[in-house]
């Protein structure tokens, strides 16, 4: 897409959005913030008047030399990525896309990151600043368009992953990075134990690894970096070549693995690096290890409590990706302990006194 084509869709509706939020605040009407509506499955269902972000669209500014792009929340993820790719740059956190309508606002609100996460960082790591619509319908700016900025509290990162429960993300500034010069993906036949051992060993070396997954007897690795180091690492690891699109299928859940059988739910287990396989009654073929083992996708009929107890004991947590399916958990996110819940509630009360922003999306109470 050319610059011209991107800007043809430019539209700043922030004033209208502010008015809508102000009215909702005054009339205490809950809002359901909607971008492309591709992530509604993630989290608890929200009852509320839709606040449509899709029209708030376009790149506000992009200076490739500064490594900074500012974009309106309703901009399609694919449009933003295409604009960056024209300058050989990318969003380093590889946000998942769950359909062509996926927006950047939804990507930041859910705070999800793709296969590059353990090596490059998470969505919030690349958010430099935001314009946020507050409960009173004011458009305020936090953070900025510079790499380093420690003035005031980091509201932008707090908003990332808060799923719209603390305010409306209107515009977002990101740090972007060059697309690596060289890339090579490979697959190696390997048992799970050997794969986890290999990944721990490789992780201690300065190698150009930017993705690592294991499933059904195969270790999958993506190398990205300079031509020389990618070539050298490729030669030392060996294996068979793998199509690069494999990572997109894992990221966006289009891989066959994500066809969940009846009676099963899809879970995401987030665990400390180098965690041994959990002692759960789940066949190996129903587990997909991503993020070098730190993120594990699991298809199971096991109940939430069993899964969460096992994850918690290992220092992690479990999220249900199919809360509405039969066998899914009614609380998709791991419940908070009493102290954390108190401060979450305090924050919610301060920033959303009347509970108008996506009420109940994360937890029933806020």
């Amino acid at each position: 897409m050319t610059d011209l084509a991107i800007h043809a869709a430019d539209c700043d509706i922030s004033k209208r959005l502010c008015d809508q939020v102000r009215t909702a605040y005054e009339t205490r009407t809950p809002l359901r913030i909607v971008g492309g509506d591709t992530r509604a499955f993630y989290g608890r269902p929200v009852e509320g008047q839709p606040l449509s972000m899709a029209e708030h669209n376009g790149i506000v500014s992009y200076d490739p030399v500064e490594l900074v792009v500012t974009v309106r929340a309703g901009t399609r993820l694919s449009a933003l990525q295409a604009a960056l790719a024209e300058h050989h740059q990318m969003l380093p956190f590889e946000p998942p896309s769950f359909g062509e309508d996926s927006t950047i606002g939804g990507a930041v609100a859910t705070g999800l990151s793709g296969p590059r996460r353990p090596w490059a960082g998470a969505a919030r790591d690349f958010v430099l600043g935001t314009r946020v619509i507050t409960q009173e319908g004011k458009l305020l700016r936090f953070g900025g368009e510079v790499m380093k900025n420690v003035a005031g509290y980091d509201l932008s990162r707090l908003m990332t992953g808060a799923q719209g429960t603390l305010g409306v993300l209107a515009d977002i500034s990101f740090k972007v990075l060059p697309i690596p010069t060289a890339s090579h993906c490979l697959r190696l036949s390997m048992s799970l134990d050997d794969a986890l051992g290999t990944l721990a060993k490789l992780g201690r070396q300065p190698l150009p690894i930017t993705a690592a997954a294991w499933h059904a007897g195969e270790l999958f690795i993506r190398l990205e970096g300079g031509t020389s180091s990618v070539k050298a690492t490729q030669e030392s690891l060996g294996g068979e070549p793998l199509e690069a699109s494999f990572w997109a299928s894992l990221r966006d859940h289009t891989h066959d693995f994500f066809n969940v059988n009846e009676g099963q739910a899809l879970w995401r287990l987030s665990l400390p690096p180098n965690t041994a396989p959990l002692a759960l009654d789940i066949p190996e073929t129903d587990i997909f290890y991503d993020w070098g083992g730190s993120q594990r996708w699991v298809k199971t009929a096991l109940d939430a409590q069993t899964l969460r107890a096992a994850c918690q004991a290992a220092g992690g947590h479990a999220t249900c990706y199919t809360p509405n399916a039969q066998g899914g958990a009614s609380e998709p996110f791991t419940p908070l302990n009493a102290v954390l819940e108190k401060y979450h509630r305090n924050l919610k009360t301060q920033l959303d006194a009347h509970g108008i922003f996506n009420p109940g999306r994360l937890y029933a109470a806020f």
Binding site: A162, S228, W291, H317
Partner: protein
């Protein structure tokens, strides 16, 4: 301008009798080391911003969590403010004590609890020195990436409080990018874990909020940091320029070539001279500016990148390009930059270090503005610049013994920060707001934004007992300071009294 706590502008503090507070805390926490005599309090009267000194009411030196918890509970009950301090190296007065407050010194929490090389994590107490983490990780070929210039002395708890940076931020991020989990105690003495050893945690990202919150939201008691494999090699190029603007443009050209250097630093003529006189780093004294560009990673890639950068620098008009031949020369090149502050300190009785950030493209304009301010005020300014990430450290030279020079230096400093804000930047990239830049916050943020910060604070500390007067100004202070944003020609909060 006096930046000491002013109840008229910063809010009232409870008046408590020192002897009563001392007795109360001693009885509640008999094992806690509490300093109360003037001569014992004196060493704690300031942090790295030594121009400002206040004797705290009491200094607490706890050794275990139970003591911190009990102390906080008593302070909360008595409405006594608590200022938390690590190594005291902060440059923005973030740990400046309060006369009516307890200074909570965490320096005895100095243990590295564990290093897990396979998970690439280290669990440490807040008083552990930044560099000590990398030293503990070194046997496994790992290190902790953020490296503030004070890394020999500064503690990781303070790094979290300030979201400290260093010379490698563009590639490796700030503290917030390298910390996985912190354990905190709230002002009410509750234990709370933010983040996790896994790469995310349920709920709001309170870990990100805690980083850089300057001790205003909680007391950090333990930190889990991410460790990285040490780059196989690091090579540094030094380029000289006969014009500062050319050097500034060369920085952009390097990035435009698709290269993210491990470090990319710029120094102007005055800073070059100071550093060269001090450490004999081999800097060219006839240059108007030098760039230090460090490339790190796998040997073969680094060699390729060195070639690319060399070509870019030549094209950008560098008058001389030198690549450090070996590790010793690389260390020498960096020694000049890392010692730039003390080097400038030798040239002048006092100096005042600023910390503004700007989009890199604004560098020529901002440098011109700084030069004009320097000329107007008669105070020399040396410029040291984390060029890769747009973080400027202008050093304003002055003599505090000369009547009015400190005030003049502060005035020039404040104007430099306003230049940065006007250029689309920030008043602080890594040193924090603390007490030092409390007034300039009013230039960077509107009243409504500042009100949101106060709302966040109220969620954690409604009684405003944690580090009051730092980081976020009151609206009354902004009104008095007079630099508040005038929005749509209306002064915000007309109901507030103007002093």
């Amino acid at each position: 301008m006096n930046i000491l706590f002013d109840e008229r502008l910063d809010g009232e503090l409870a008046r408590r009798d020192k002897a009563e507070v001392l007795t109360d805390i001693q009885q509640a926490v008999p094992t806690l080391t509490l300093l109360h005599r003037e001569e014992d309090l004196r060493p704690f009267e300031c942090d790295g911003l030594a121009a400002y000194r206040v004797l705290p009411m009491l200094v607490a030196l706890p050794e275990n969590l139970e003591q911190v918890e009990a102390l906080l509970k008593r302070c909360h009950a008595l409405d006594v403010p608590v200022v938390t301090r690590g190594a005291g190296t902060g440059l923005s007065g973030g740990a400046l004590p309060l006369e009516q407050g307890v200074l909570l010194v965490m320096s005895r929490f100095n243990k590295i609890l564990s290093v897990d090389p396979d998970a690439r994590l280290a669990r440490v107490q807040p008083g552990v020195r930044n560099l000590a983490i990398s030293e503990a990780a070194a046997p496994y070929g790992l290190y902790y990436a953020p490296d503030p210039s004070s890394q020999i002395a500064c503690s990781i708890g303070g790094n979290v409080a300030e979201n400290a940076g260093g010379v490698h931020c563009l590639k490796y991020g700030l503290t917030v990018h390298n910390v996985l989990r912190v354990d905190v105690l709230t002002i009410e003495g509750e234990h709370m874990t933010l983040g996790a050893e896994s790469l995310d945690a349920p709920g709001f990202d309170l870990l990100a909020l805690m980083n850089g919150s300057e001790g205003m939201l909680g007391v950090v008691t333990e930190i889990t940091v991410n460790l990285l494999p040490k780059p196989e090699t690091a090579k540094v190029l030094m380029a000289s320029f006969d014009d500062v603007e050319k050097a500034g443009r060369a920085v952009g050209d390097i990035i435009a070539a698709g290269i993210i250097p491990g470090g990319l630093e710029m120094m102007d003529k005055l800073a070059i001279k100071a550093a060269e006189d001090f450490v004999k780093a081999g800097y060219p004294l006839d240059a108007e500016a030098i760039l230090l560009c460090e490339l790190d990673g796998v040997e073969a890639d680094v060699d390729d990148d060195c070639e690319t950068v060399r070509r870019v620098l030549e094209k950008a008009g560098a008058t001389q390009i030198q690549q450090a031949r070996d590790e010793a020369e690389r260390a020498k090149f960096w020694a000049g930059r890392k010692n730039a502050f003390p080097a400038v300190g030798r040239m002048s009785p006092d100096y005042y270090c600023m910390d503004g950030t700007i989009p890199r493209r604004e560098l020529p304009r901002v440098l011109k503005g700084i030069a004009a301010l320097s000329e107007q005020s008669g105070l020399a300014v040396a410029n040291v610049f984390h060029a890769g990430d747009g973080n400027m450290h202008p050093l304003i030279l002055f003599d505090a013994n000369k009547e009015g020079e400190l005030a003049l230096a502060e005035d020039v400093g404040g104007k430099i920060l306003e230049l940065c804000v006007a250029a689309g930047g920030s008043i602080t990239g890594e040193h924090g707001v603390g007490r030092e830049k409390i007034n300039q916050m009013c230039s960077q943020f509107q009243a409504d934004e500042i009100s949101v910060f106060h709302a966040l604070k109220a969620a954690f500390d409604p009684k405003r007992l944690l580090n009051p007067g730092k980081n976020i100004p009151t609206l009354a202070r902004c009104a008095e300071f007079g630099a508040m944003h005038v929005h749509n020609n209306e002064l915000p909060h007309p109901e507030l009294p103007r002093f």
